[in-house]
Amino acid sequence: MRQLFTRRLGRLTTIAAVVGIGGITACNDFLTAENPGAIVAEDVTDARYATLITNGVIGEFQPMLGYVTWWNAIFTDELFNRATFFEEGLIDRREVTSTNGTYAFFYYGNLHRTRFLADNGAERLKTILGDSASRDLRLARVQAYGGMTYTYIAEALCASPIDVSEPLPSAELFARAIDRYDEAIAVAAAAKIQAKAQTRIVPRDTLAADSLRNFALVGAARAALNVNDKAAAIAYASQVPAGFEFRAYYSENSGRENSWMWNRLVAGSNGTMLNTPFAAMDTDPRVPRPGGTTVLALIPNAPPSYSAYNGTLVGADFARGGWVRIASSLEAQYILAEARGATPATLDFVNARRAVGLQAPVALTGDALMAELRDQRSRDFYLDNHRLGDLRRYKEFYGIDLFPQGTYPGTTTGLTYSAGTTCWPLTLAEQNGNPNAGTP
């Protein structure tokens, strides 16, 4: 019996040894837990991810644009916010500090998330696509969106770290934006050449290449103008063909895909309305409002950059889906006009825009003409995230301060706008999490 047991024990020991050795070799696999809800960063390395990376930048850009547009409009003179949320009131008066949670949650983080996805995506695409990246529209698209995101950061923030760096000044950020636009322009051009070289030309590919190139050209011109490099701005803007528009799209599918302007001005009831300068533009269909005698009269309807714009004074509600124009030949024309100054061509352009606004022609020259140009620009690009960059540029390079000043027209008396503030600070999370951020 004992022998029988000893034999069995020997067999069990052998089995145990095999199981043990197998167990040790299988240990690494066992200790790599399945995670079907996410992709580990180091796995994003092959061609399956190229389109996903590109869509990632677009998908992040769209809601970010809505948030940034909304709070920049409140921060500037585009909107006046009657909402009772305390932090939104601070934004309205430009009393934004690093502790403002609304700003941190909606604005700052989303800007940087988009910027990171573009920068990181461009690097990954170059690795994944190899030599073909230089003529792949996906890289052009990522770089163009990345350039526009850098432009938004540079226009809005006083200074901003990139990838946990020390805060970079706006000029440096605009320069980085132009680098990305330049690469997008070059890649789009190469992609178009390649598309044309195909035995069977796909019109969609050549049109997409043109569209991305023009988007990047407008963006580069915008960035160049914001660093007062008018020659470069003219060089970029003059290449943009008439009739060009580049849009960001929304859909009714989910909250993330909905237009934020619809969310706040149609679905919500926060009582946000046209601020004083724009409330006064009450005959221009580019600044539509319902009209009437109640406070609802001044809640804006969809202006020209939005798909729901219908060219009437009353206008129409912002759409839950639809699109918003983010770059256009119209913007290129404005950049050219501002860069060239008070020329006869500028006067013609101004009067053409006044006609759209049901305004009579003017015969202005010099500073008065440039002031009118600025006024028309504010109407044509109402609520599409141009205003803050414009106001900062006017103040920095032309000495013209159009930021709201003096008594704040809110329900609480005795409050004033923050006179000197023209840009957004770093958030507390950035200060705490970035050893290079320094103390504000």
């Binding site: 998908g59 992040e60 990838d163 599918n253």
Partner: protein
């Protein structure tokens, strides 16, 4: 990892006994005799059941029946050493001379032991360790006795007040909900839950997946007192004992998850040995009611209110009509409205069968519990079947297989801070004010009949399978292998019929089906060696592999159209999602214990762990431990001293050790998720940054030193256990903000900072009176804990608000203070002690917050007494004291701050708690200005509760015999019978934020209910 499906797993477990059968040896019947006898309590002379009678050198084992009798057959002839053992009694050994074919009568007497050093406990090493060898404290609860004395419905109620160092903080009195369990204080910022093993199998104690019981519509609120736990998925009637391994000093061998302590649940099993089949049945019937007062609501019927009319000309204060101006009317709608509260029924049925022979034993049981809550839409039903089979094929191996199946049906009422909850609506009502039909007179937000429609149900199911093989091929080599599967799944439903709920008038149905599977494999081997007769060496080594998987499907349909169509697919809009997470760990340990003359034991051990949630730059964590146990009472040199002190035994012990707590799954990885991008008229999948990750992430490291003694005095009639511990947790898992410029959101986990817990635990148990007709047994536990956040480990951070706190940061984690302590600015005071008032009459507060107190008890006392009269009557009571802590009375703050604050108890109630000035008239003036000050609502929550009382009558044997039974008793028991406290809320034990670590506030949580029940127990 490829996983077996459930059918394959069951087949594998069921096939395992065949291995043992192959090794079985036939029992010999040649040259044998038998021993029979009776075992009684030396003090009371009462028979003792379940005493195991073993014969040295023979497989023959017997078990005493309810009459204390046993028959031991097949005992080899000759002089035999017979040993009788039972937990709680000092073992007795006698010699019997057995003749071939003859029978020996051997009656034995056992003495109850207050502290028995020979008691066997589970330690994680795989061998039966005697208490004398342990350098650390282990609390053992005899649950079989507890459930016989008191009506306990879940594990938390078993642990409550009986285990020094274990703090049970219930959230609400709602059936099926669970409280927090903290062992020796909170030792981490990110979690303090202990790990639980049942018969050596890792046991899931996560929430069962119910929808939050504060949900309005489909959104729901995250906070709730009505938190559930899979720990409730075990019936106390199936538990034999519970061992609590308190902290890192003892839990090292449990590895990277055990820093918060380990709870070992040992279920009832058959006892191997010759015996008759024994049926046990228990039927319990009882009630639950809200016995504590709910506050009154007040209205002053001013002339303006009497005169107030709507535009249609109807009065808005119908309750004030006909009354003189300024008449004060009161109402207590919760007590008044018959639809608000009920007396819930309690019914429990339990049946078990146990038996065994020389080579096997078995135990099967079935239970059915139905517990109704005091709200009409509240109940918890639980049915379970449990079985285990032990097979001992030979003298070198035995095999245990356990199977447990449990089913629950839980319905949770809506409550806490939901306006659809009865308590919120009731305590914020305005007497006399016109309310719409959906609210009703006297209620604030909803009528109870409407609130009772809330239909939040969770059907749960649990299957636990386990197999343990003990193989001792040689006297010096012992092995134990346990494999187990714990599968918990639930189907949670939340249904709003159309027009039933104001927030979801179109109707909605929500479902989710969480499944948690825990696989565990545990092997331990022991090498025993005795180089000399005085010196012993026990080397233990082993491995533990645990895999924990969670998956869940969720679906929602909104817009049901008709009340009879509740299929999600038929709803106007539908959505669905699923999620999955997995955590795997492997641990190895080796321990060496040197014993000297069976009275001095020195133990050293090392455990190494790897875990799938560790960072890629971190490989293995190693935890060491060391302990010393010295049975001083057996030192010959101290014999005189021991005699003089009348010590029966005295063991000095000390232990130091480390254990950990692993990060949450995937937190070390930098990951992307998939989102969506709108591409013109279509959409596309899009990559999105998800988690920043931390490749250096490692587990927390808990380190603990404890020292204490176990003493038994006066011939084992008095036992004293004392422990001092000092526990610290370093490398805490702390959420650190990620710089948004990195492109990743929110935060990542990092190993930072330190928390300490220091305290003492003491238990004194004894039998002050031990006469045949009167036995008085008493036990008092005391525990004190000082918790301190020593360091965040982050430059510049000295405080933070606990995650999930609402209504102002009245709780803070601050360096130098307890985690989650209460903080608020105090009013500035004039020289006469009155508060400084501003020009507008507001109380002027300090600019900085002051520490007001701990949010959990600092001192806990449990006092239990059992008196047995004339062998037939037993009276038992348990008093529970918790003190030294505060509770935020958020409910009262809301009552005081809302509107005219007429309901403010401080205005109307004799229990007013505002700082009282010297002048009563000044007090009246202070009330309006005080009622907005947060510190006024952070109250002393010290209390004493008469937690349990029972009266048992054991039927005389002659009566029992007529029924064919061997024993029977009738027990009347009550729970939460009385409360003594200065807290002005309803119950200082509630917490409306049970789902959030550290956040504690009383906001419309259902107080603990009072239960009465009667039970009948029969044994055949």
């Amino acid at each position: 990892m490829r996983s077996l499906n459930v059918r394959q797993q069951i087949a594998a477990v069921l096939a395992a006994p065949l291995i043992c059968l192959a090794l079985a040896q036939p029992a010999s019947a040649q040259g044998t005799g038998s021993i029979r006898g009776r075992v009684t309590d030396a003090a009371s002379q009462r028979p003792i059941t379940d005493v195991q009678i073993a014969v040295a050198g023979s497989p023959a084992i017997a078990v005493t029946d309810r009459a204390g009798q046993f028959v031991l057959a097949n005992v080899p002839a000759g002089e035999r050493t017979v040993t009788a053992r039972r937990i709680g009694f000092t073992p007795v050994t006698r010699t019997a001379s057995v003749q071939a074919g003859g029978q020996v009568v051997l009656d034995l007497q056992l003495s109850a032991s207050a502290t028995t050093l020979d008691q066997v406990v589970v330690t994680g090493t795989g061998v039966a360790a005697e208490r004398r060898t342990l350098g650390n404290a282990i609390t053992t609860l005899d649950v079989a006795t507890i459930t016989e004395k008191a009506s306990v419905l879940n594990v938390a109620e078993i642990l409550q007040s009986r285990t020094p160092g274990v703090t049970v903080l219930p959230g609400s009195g709602t059936p099926g909900t669970a409280g927090e369990i903290r062992i020796r204080g909170a030792s981490s910022l990110s979690g303090y839950r202990p790990v639980v093993y049942v018969d050596g199998i890792r046991y899931n104690i996560d929430e069962i997946g119910s929808f939050p019981a504060t949900g309005n519509g489909t959104a729901g609120l995250a906070q709730s007192s009505q938190v559930t736990s899979a720990l409730n998925f075990i019936n106390p009637n199936d538990i034999e004992s519970i061992e609590v391994i308190m902290g890192p000093a003892a839990a090292t061998l449990y590895g990277a998850d055990a820093a918060n302590g380990v709870i070992q649940i040992i279920t009832k099993k058959g006892t191997r040995g010759q015996q008759e089949l024994r049926w046990t049945g228990k039927y319990e019937r009882g009630t639950a009611e809200l016995a504590l007062d709910t506050p009154l609501n007040y209205t002053t019927c001013t002339q303006a209110r009497i005169d107030l009319r709507s535009t249609a000309g109807d009065t808005l204060w119908p309750g004030c009509q006909g009354l003189a101006a300024n008449t004060v009317i009161t109402d207590n709608p919760i007590q008044r409205d018959p639809n608000a509260l009920r007396t819930g029924d309690l019914e429990r049925i339990s049946l078990s069968l146990r038996g065994g022979g020389d080579q096997y034993s078995f135990y099967v049981a079935g239970d059915r519990d139905t517990e109704e809550g005091v709200f009409f839409n509240s109940y918890n039903k639980r049915s379970s079947a449990r079985g285990n089979f032990t097979f001992v094929p030979n003298d070198i191996s035995n095999f245990l297989i356990t199977v447990n199946y449990l089913q629950t049906d839980l319905r949770l009422p809506i409550g806490d801070e939901s306006p659809a909850g009865i308590l919120l609506s009731g305590v914020r009502g305005q007497p006399g004010f016109l309310r719409p039909a959906s609210v009703g007179p006297g209620w604030s937000t909803i009528d109870p009949a409407r609130s009772n429609l809330y239909n939040n149900r969770t059907a749960g199911e649990r299957i636990t399978l386990g197999a343990t093989l003990n193989l001792d091929p040689f006297n010096w080599f012992r092995n134990r292998l346990t494999v187990g599967l714990d599968n918990t799944n639930a189907k949670a439903d939340l249904l709003f019929l159309p027009d039933e709920n104001d927030q979801t008038p179109e109707g909605a149905v929500l479902q989710r089906t969480p499944v948690t599977r825990v696989y565990s494999i545990d092997y331990a081997g022991n090498l025993l060696y005795s180089p000399t007769s005085d010196l012993t060496s026990t080397t233990t080594f082993g491995t533990q592999i645990i895999s924990n998987q969670f998956r869940q499907l969720s679906a929602t349909g909104t817009g049901l159209g008709a009340p009879t169509v509740t299929i999600i697919g038929s709803a106007q809009t539908t959505s669905g999602s699923n999620n999955f997470s997995e955590n795997n760990s492997v641990g190895y340990f080796v321990q060496e214990q040197i014993g000297w003359k069976n009275r001095l034991f020195l133990t050293g051990a090392v455990r190494a762990d790897d875990n799938s949630s560790f960072g890629s730059n971190f490989d293995v964590i190693v935890y060491p431990k060391a302990s010393l146990a010295w049975v001083l009472s057996e030192e010959p040199a101290l014999a005189n001293l021991v005699d003089a002190a009348r010590l029966s035994s005295f063991k000095l012990r000390g232990a130091w050790g480390q254990a950990g707590r692993a990060p949450t799954p995937y937190s070390a990885l930098q990951t992307y998720s998939i989102s969506v991008a709108t591409l013109g008229t279509t959409t596309g999948s899009a990559l999105r940054t998800a988690s920043f990750g931390n490749p250096d992430l490692k587990p927390e490291r808990g380190e603990e030193f404890e020292i204490g003694f176990d003493a038994s005095l006066l011939a084992d009639r008095l036992g004293v256990d004392f422990t001092y511990y000092n526990k610290s947790t370093r490398d805490m898992l702390v959420a650190v903000g990620v710089a948004p410029s990195s492109g990743f959101p929110v935060s990542r986990l990092d190993n930072l900072g330190e928390v300490t817990n220091r305290g003492i635990e003491a238990a004194v148990s004894g039998t002050p009176i031990q006469q045949p007709n009167l036995i008085w047994e008493s036990r008092v536990n005391y525990a004190a804990n000082r918790n301190e956040l020593v360091d965040f480990g982050i430059d510049g951070r000295t405080s933070e608000t606990p995650s999930g706190q609402a209504y102002g940061a009245v709780q803070q984690h601050r360096e130098g203070y307890p985690l989650g302590g209460y903080w608020a600015p105090l009013p500035q005071r004039n020289a006469d002690g009155t508060p400084v008032l501003s020009a507008t009459g507001a109380v002027v507060l300090d600019t900085v917050a002051s520490f007001l107190g701990s949010s959990v008890p600092l001192h806990e006392i449990g006092l239990s007494n059992t008196v047995t009269l004339f062998e037939n009557f037993r009276i038992y009571a348990l008093l529970d004291y918790k003190g030294g802590h505060k509770l935020f009375n958020l409910k009262e703050r809301n009552r005081c701050q809302a509107g005219a604050a007429e309901n403010c108890a401080r205005t109307n109630d004799s229990r007013a708690r505002f700082p009282v000035s010297a002048s009563d008239s000044l007090l009246a003036a202070e009330i309006p200005v005080w009622r907005t000050v947060p510190s006024a609502y952070i109250e002393d929550a010290t209390f004493i509760k008469l937690r349990e009382v029972s009266l048992s009558f054991f039927l005389p044997q002659r009566l029992v015999a007529r029924t064919g039974a061997s024993a029977a008793n009738i027990t009347l028991s009550g729970r939460n019978l009385a409360l003594w406290t200065d807290y002005s809320g309803i119950d200082p034990e509630v917490n409306s934020y049970g789902g959030r670590l550290f956040v504690r506030a009383d906001a419309y949580a259902l107080p603990m209910t009072r239960r009465f029940s009667a039970s009948v127990n029969f044994t055949y």
